[in-house]
């Protein structure tokens, strides 16, 4: 029998934490009892422990479906660094030989992270079927919801995969708590009863500030003096890679702060370097896209600036949630200017096929049928042939497969069925883009809110909002002059060292006597 004392001992033993954080223990107890669990805890509250500890304690293997490869890689490396060795990540980015290595030793692992796409592979499914899967985890489970952030058809295939693995208990975790998303998750996974653990997501130590400006230039003029005044760990979010590079250059030349940019297009070595420099207080400011932060657990981030607004309130809450994890003060500043809506708007449009594209795709499919051909084998060929982007094609492929129009590479033509299918898909597409537009309008409205920003922000997700620990928001009481967070100490060490001295210090060699 698992009891609280044993859990706590193991938490200490395996992870070095002396106590559970809010929500963890209840979730883990239910997981250990074999229940299906839906856990909704705010970002940074420690959801990973909810399956990492059971993975250590349960017999057999725990499978974790994780949406972001960088996140997966970070987690696995962190686990390995902290002595959880029997862990592996399988995704499309590991080399073939690495994958073979993992497959060959699959019995060895206690915890296996997979991307939903890889999980659909026959070879992996066959291997996993032979294992005893003791727990099936869906991290960032809001991705399951059709109305989640990104449309990932393979998430909708999880239910059948779970069946294939002999129906292990499920743990679904997310920080996104709208009722719509919750019911979608439960419905898609096809289980009757979930033990739900939903915790409020409002952070009482974050102060919200929104500032209207005329253009990007004015945004720079707002940020520059702030960085000069406050030397505190700061993240600035942008909607494009180019912007992170450009603005970080401009800020570098106008402030004293130590600034770097970070985005998904950088060389791996540099990504780790920048991330770790920030963790280590060698950098003050990171200018980044939303790619930064998922795996980050720096506790003393004091200032989170949105140079561009995210596409919806949920992303905003997630990103802001990276601030002030130590419970101390943190300010969120969103800079809003009239043109800001166009970037996210065009992104929404680009993600989904247009009605014309959908019609064209059906037309091209019919041509293949007439020529008695199946689908091109190569994704690039497919995208060329249908004139679709990868993400648009993924959206359509799932719809085609769901309706039996495409099975493997073969196309099944039935004129009447195709006609209704086309109408349905167009309807679905409009629904989805409408919803994203609505989300966007929602965050835009929030930036124009006249009453309390805090209350308005959280009211869509929960009934009560804690009262703030520090200043509340720019509509209630916030003033920069009243904000005095502790500043980062910078020791200017080793500035004039010779390279020999640098090397000596790097390699931890004692200074020779004569130089003292």
């Amino acid at each position: 029998m698992i009891n609280k004392r044993i859990l706590r001992e193991n938490l200490q033993k395996h992870f070095g934490y002396s106590a559970f954080r809010t929500g963890q223990e209840e979730i883990i107890l239910d997981v250990m009892k074999g229940k299906d669990v839906l856990g909704i805890l705010p970002t940074g509250s420690g959801k990973s422990i909810c399956y990492q500890l059971p993975a250590k304690l349960l017999e057999g293997v725990t499978i974790v479906v994780s949406p972001l490869i960088s996140l997966m890689v970070d987690q696995v490396r962190q686990l390995k660094a902290s002595h959880f060795k029997k862990v592996a990540a399988i995704n499309s980015f590991i080399s073939r030989s690495e994958r073979n290595h993992i497959y060959k030793n699959i019995h060895y692992y206690k915890l296996v992270y997979v991307s939903p796409e890889i999980l659909q592979q026959d070879r992996l499914q066959r291997l996993l079927k032979e294992l005893h899967v003791s727990l099936f985890v869906i991290d960032e489970a809001h991705c399951i919801s059709q109305w989640g952030h990104e449309f990932r058809p393979d998430y909708l295939r999880l239910a059948s995969t779970i069946e294939l693995l002999n129906n292990p208990p499920i743990l679904a975790l997310t920080a996104t708590a709208t009722l719509q998303v919750q019911s979608d998750i439960v419905k898609t996974l096809g289980r009757k009863e979930f033990a739900r653990h939903v915790h409020p997501m409002d952070k009482d130590n974050i102060t919200f500030s929104v500032q209207q400006v005329v253009d990007e230039n004015e945004k720079l003029q707002v940020i520059t003096p702030l960085l000069n005044k406050y030397r505190v760990p700061t993240i600035i979010y942008f909607s494009s890679r180019e912007a992170t590079e450009k603005v970080s250059e401009q800020l570098k030349s106008n402030t004293e702060a130590r600034i770097a940019f970070y985005h998904g297009g950088m060389d791996q070595y540099d990504r780790v370097t920048i991330q770790q420099q920030f963790m280590n207080d060698q950098l003050d400011v990171i200018c980044c896209t939303s790619a930064f932060g998922m795996g980050i657990n720096k506790s003393n981030i004091r200032l989170i600036i949105h140079f561009h607004m995210p596409p919806n309130l949920e992303s905003f809450i997630q990103e802001v949630g990276r601030g002030g994890r130590d419970g101390d003060t943190c300010v969120s500043l969103l800079l809003s200017s009239p043109g800001d809506i166009y970037i996210p708007q065009s992104m929404i449009q680009g993600e989904l096929p247009t009605n014309n594209q959908i019609e064209y795709t059906f037309h091209q499919l019919e041509k293949l049928v007439i020529a008695n051909q199946s689908l091109p084998t190569d994704n690039i060929e497919i995208e060329n042939y249908f004139q679709l982007s990868e993400i648009q094609w993924r959206f359509l492929l799932f719809q085609f497969e769901k309706r039996g129009i495409i099975k493997r590479r073969a196309i099944y033509f039935e004129p009447v069925k195709w006609k209704t299918a086309q109408e349905e898909i167009i309807k679905l597409r409009n629904q989805r883009s409408g919803l994203k537009e609505k989300n966007l309008t929602e965050i835009l409205r929030w930036t124009e809110e006249k009453s309390c920003l805090r209350k308005r922000l959280y009211s869509a997700f929960q009934n009560t909002v804690k009262s703030p620990l520090f200043q509340c928001c720019s509509n209630c009481d916030f003033q920069w002059s009243q904000w005095n967070p502790p500043q980062t100490n910078i020791e200017k060490k080793g500035m004039d060292d010779t390279w020999k001295t640098k090397l000596r210090k790097l390699l931890l060699i004692e200074a020779p006597d004569e130089t003292i």
């Binding site: 660094a81 920048i274 020999k500 390699l507």
Partner: protein
Amino acid sequence: MILEALLLTSIKRLNGERSSSAIFHILKGKRSIQTIQDIHMYRLTEFYYSAKDIRKADFNKEMQKLLRQNLIKKTDVEPKIATYLLTELGNEWLGKNIGSSSIHYFNGLTYANTSLKFYSRLVLLIQTFTNTSLNNYSFLPIVNDPETERWVKKIYSSSVYQPREILNQLYEELKKLFLYFTDEEAHLFIDRLTGFDQYGLSLDQLANKYGKSYLEVQLLITAMTQNMLQVVITNKKRFPFLTFIAADLQTENTLLTNSALITNRLLQKGHDIPAIAQIRKLKYNTIYDHIVEIAIHDRTFPIEKYVNKETQQSIMQAIQQTKSYMLKDIKENINHEVSYFEIRLVLSLIKNTTHSGDKRDK
């Protein structure tokens, strides 16, 4: 400066006979017969694969810059293909700067692949042993390459080496090794290294700090690493630990058959083919086989000793024409004084360049 010197030198040696994309392919290390032929024909082997990450747009920008600065000019031999020559100014610039430009560190054809691995090992070794020697066991490895991680782990767990000893030894050897470079280069290289509680600088940060472009920093580190490897391998006694790091990266020669190995030793002692045939009481043809085998496995094999440049060139051309690696096809399309042995040697050159290229995909 390293970038300009690299481009100008390449343009100079290509002598207006190849387009600018030929240079691009060389820097990127393209595995095509044409590129391989180019690097051998125009003495550009050391720059092969020197800028594997360079993007076409950036490359073009650099070429435009050279044009604007009047260091190169377009030739108008073939209007459709852009070929270039150095201007007088360009020649002058090169004469003045090539010596201090660090491009002589490059040794691409021989070391491009191994130096990447060597660098990863060195970096991760330093991070691992500085941290563990201070009892910090939870750090995020800066190198994310499973093969390198496994290698470092093996050293770490084979308690033969004490962390402190390794660091001391590394210090002694690196101190000597950096004497082969300028002070600024040593600083730059060391600034990128990660130790305990101190993460190295990113390429972009180095570029800012040293007033160079991102691309230049990348080139410089690549060039330095290739040169380090060269220095270490030719001075094994002075750099025992660094030699150890590089050792199994150079395993190709041990793939030789025993008999070829003996021939190889004799060759290295300075014996020629007739002498070896006599010593070993073997037919010439057998020795030829050995030499071809050695050439296939040893990328540094001095093929010029056995096939002169012009013959190499005509064999390459025959290969181009026939689009074939068949000895017979090639032989039929070439001056009949050229022997099968010579053809096979040239083929080995191609094979082993493409072969070494293949390996880096893993």
